[in-house]
Amino acid sequence: EDQVTQSPEALRLQEGESSSLNCSYTVSGLRGLFWYRQDPGKGPEFLFTLYSAGEEKEKERLKATLTKKESFLHITAPKPEDSATYLCAVPPSGGSNYKLTFGKGTLLTVNP
């Protein structure tokens, strides 16, 4: 069974204090890893797709990286507006493409 584990569950940073969120996964054949951002009371917003180990994607202060067992979301010099829950997800290793396995998320709070 595919599994996705995110850590930490919650992270509190001061504005400008860089850090990383972790997403570890267990799938027999990775067909992509997705990162989302979710603000309170809103639907998840798609951020990145990573397909192979070594791949990196960047968007503003966020950079996502992928290894064979985990992905990191690096946040450089965060601002209060980066506060949100960050989710990662993987598609099934076999069969249909439809059922993503989501982690439970990391709640990031950036204090001014």
């Binding site: 009371g41 809103k42 989710l87 997800a89 598609p91 059922k99 989501f102 439970k104």
Partner: protein
């Protein structure tokens, strides 16, 4: 560009009442469509998905049902709501794999 709409945004319903939540997608054809529920402090739970008109797959046995009467319309229904149906309901679409979510409906069953 593609957009996804959900309504209503919030809903308060008594136990035992019916439910109908609607989701529509614009700017794409033949999308896969999904209904998720997100309970407070818990992860995303896939409820239903659809790969085409009239094709519905259920992930979790419960008193909810889904229908897809048109290519870009997905409806979540219940004949009688339970207290445990309260939550944040999200519709999503994908072509082919990455899923994009709607704004959600906050349902409170009293």
């Amino acid at each position: 560009s593609q957009t996804i709409h959900q309504w209503p945004a919030t809903l308060v319903q008594p136990v035992g009442s019916p439910l109908s939540l609607e989701c529509t997608v614009e700017g794409t054809s033949n999308p896969n469509l999904y209904w998720y529920r997100q309970a407070a402090g818990r992860g995303l739970q896939l409820l239903f998905y659809s790969v085409g008109i009239g094709q519905i797959s259920s992930e979790v046995p419960q008193n909810l049902s889904a229908s897809r009467p048109q290519d870009r319309q997905f409806i979540l229904s219940s004949k009688k709501l339970l207290l445990s149906d309260s939550g944040f309901y999200l519709c999503a679409w994908s072509v082919p794999v990455e899923q994009f979510f709607g704004p959600g409906t906050r349902l409170t069953v009293l």
